[in-house]
């Protein structure tokens, strides 16, 4: 084809696809018809990124590939267009999702142990339906509970490429020796509780 332009083709494909496309995928699709290399694909994406510098859209690399998205500078307008369409998620869902993200692979039991309440099936269903979590195996203990981990779609939804880009999990402030620490504070405890002094050494 005479007028074949890799950059414009990739742009149109990224805009047409409902999900991010990886370099491999783009290469496979286009190399069916045209002699190109993977480097050509990467170069074209670079060129596209360059073209977009002055535009209000940008190429974004997320876990599942490349996608094109609006620059934040026009979010004010988009918020008008999309008013009230913003999805909201409950704290229970966000906590469950966080535990899966940071502790994966985890079973429902692991999640329950941390949150101290049972995990609602509807939350797990929502997370699965959105393809944010998946079962990656079954733990070899009685009952063979399913182990969950997060997916590339989960990262893409938050515009991330890798799990490491998630906010850092706060350190546990637990002192090396919790008992010692508690002993030091026994004075406070006694005051507050009016406990007999013998109750703690």
């Amino acid at each position: 084809m005479i007028n074949f332009n890799l950059k414009h083709t990739i742009e149109a494909l990224l805009l047409s696809s409902n999900e991010p496309l990886s370099t491999e995928r783009l290469f496979k699709i286009i190399s069916n018809k045209h002699q190109i290399t993977k480097t050509d694909v990467l170069d074209a994406i670079k060129a596209l990124e360059n073209d977009y510098l002055e535009k209000e859209i940008e190429v974004s690399k997320v876990a599942s590939g490349y996608r094109i998205q609006a620059k934040k500078s026009i979010n004010d307008y988009l918020n008008i267009i999309f008013a009230e369409r913003t999805p909201k998620y409950s704290r229970a869902l966000m906590e469950t999702l966080s535990i899966i993200a940071y502790k994966q692979p985890v079973t429902r039991g692991d999640i329950e142990a941390i949150r101290g309440v049972s995990v609602s099936s509807s939350i797990m269903r929502t997370l699965t339906d959105r393809n944010w979590i998946k079962i990656i195996g079954y733990r070899d203990v009685p009952g063979k509970p399913a182990m969950f981990s997060t997916t590339a779609d989960f990262l893409s939804y938050f515009g991330l490429e890798k799990l490491e880009q998630l906010p850092e999990l706060p350190d546990i402030k637990e002192p090396k020796n919790l008992d010692l620490e508690l002993d030091n504070q026994s004075n406070t405890l006694v005051e507050n509780d009016n406990l007999p002094e013998t109750s703690l050494n």
Partner: protein, 269 residues
């Protein structure tokens, strides 16, 4: 890390839930809250650990200094109110109440030289609180990350002018079998659930205990527990006993240290 501006009006979820924030001042100061407000208040908690963290933070306490007696008392007051409104969660909240009561009682026990090595009874609870707090904090951060359709808007072009061949999903006959087995498994779980729901009422258990004691002068403490029951059931019995003591309907008697504990009725016959 892209963090989201707190001032965004869309971001109005869970105003009470940010326990370390100033929002708490809007919360009722004492326990006597109108039921409607209480319902709203309780709905903001994600379980017993969350409620405990709130009670601790409300008093500006370090988790490591929990005054168990105070916190237990407050906690039990809350769940007493809760029992009428939030039955669904009662099991987990009751379990925590029992755990607190146990810790409290262990702290009250005289300490002997040989159990000196034993861990402080609060240690396990503190560990769980600290662990839960980590994830709670980080989940708030994740909630503020940019996300698609809220902060990230995807650019797409229309492709419906393109004659997309309609591909229908393909299924195998075995998929049907597997799905139906899933259904049956779930239906089975359902029937056990229905069965579980009933017996967890403290009031009901109080009556049963009173009936048991009524005929005799006293019974052994252990006899009141049906070991066949699940852990939650035992907790309900325990709470029922505490409740009966509080209402001065029964009395707990122990003749000598570590001797047999008897439960005696105070109701006149």
């Amino acid at each position: 890390m892209q963090e989201k501006d707190h001032n965004n009006p869309i971001q109005s979820e869970m105003p009470f839930a940010i326990v370390d924030g100033e929002q708490i001042t809007e919360m009722p100061k004492d326990l006597y809250i109108p039921p409607v407000a209480l319902q709203v208040f309780l709905d903001t908690f994600e379980g017993p650990l969350d409620l405990l963290l709130y009670l601790i933070r409300k008093q500006n306490l370090n988790i490591l200094d929990i005054p168990i007696a105070d916190i237990t008392e407050q906690y039990v007051d809350y769940i007493n109110l809760m029992k009428e409104l939030e039955l669904e969660l009662a099991g987990e909240y009751l379990l925590m109440a029992a755990m607190l009561a146990e810790i409290k009682s262990r702290l009250l026990l005289p300490i002997f030289e040989d159990i000196d090595e034993e861990e402080d009874p609060r240690a396990e609870l503190i560990r769980r609180l600290l662990e839960y707090e980590r994830y709670r904090t980080v989940s708030e951060k994740i909630n503020q990350l940019d996300r698609v359709d809220r902060d990230i808007f995807l650019s797409t072009v229309d492709t419906d002018q393109f004659n997309q061949p309609i591909v229908l999903p393909d299924i195998q006959v075995m998929d049907l079998v597997v799905s139906f087995q899933e259904v049956l498994k779930k239906a089975e779980m359902f029937s056990t659930l229905h069965f579980m729901k009933e017996p967890l009422s403290v009031k009901e258990r109080m009556t049963m205990i009173l009936e048991t004691i009524q005929d005799k002068d006293f019974v052994q403490f252990e006899e009141l527990f049906d070991l066949e029951e699940e852990r939650t059931g035992l907790v309900v019995t325990f709470l029922a006993i505490l409740e009966l003591m509080k209402e001065l309907l029964i009395e707990i008697v122990q003749a000598k240290e570590f001797g047999i504990i008897h439960v005696k009725t105070l109701v006149e016959k």
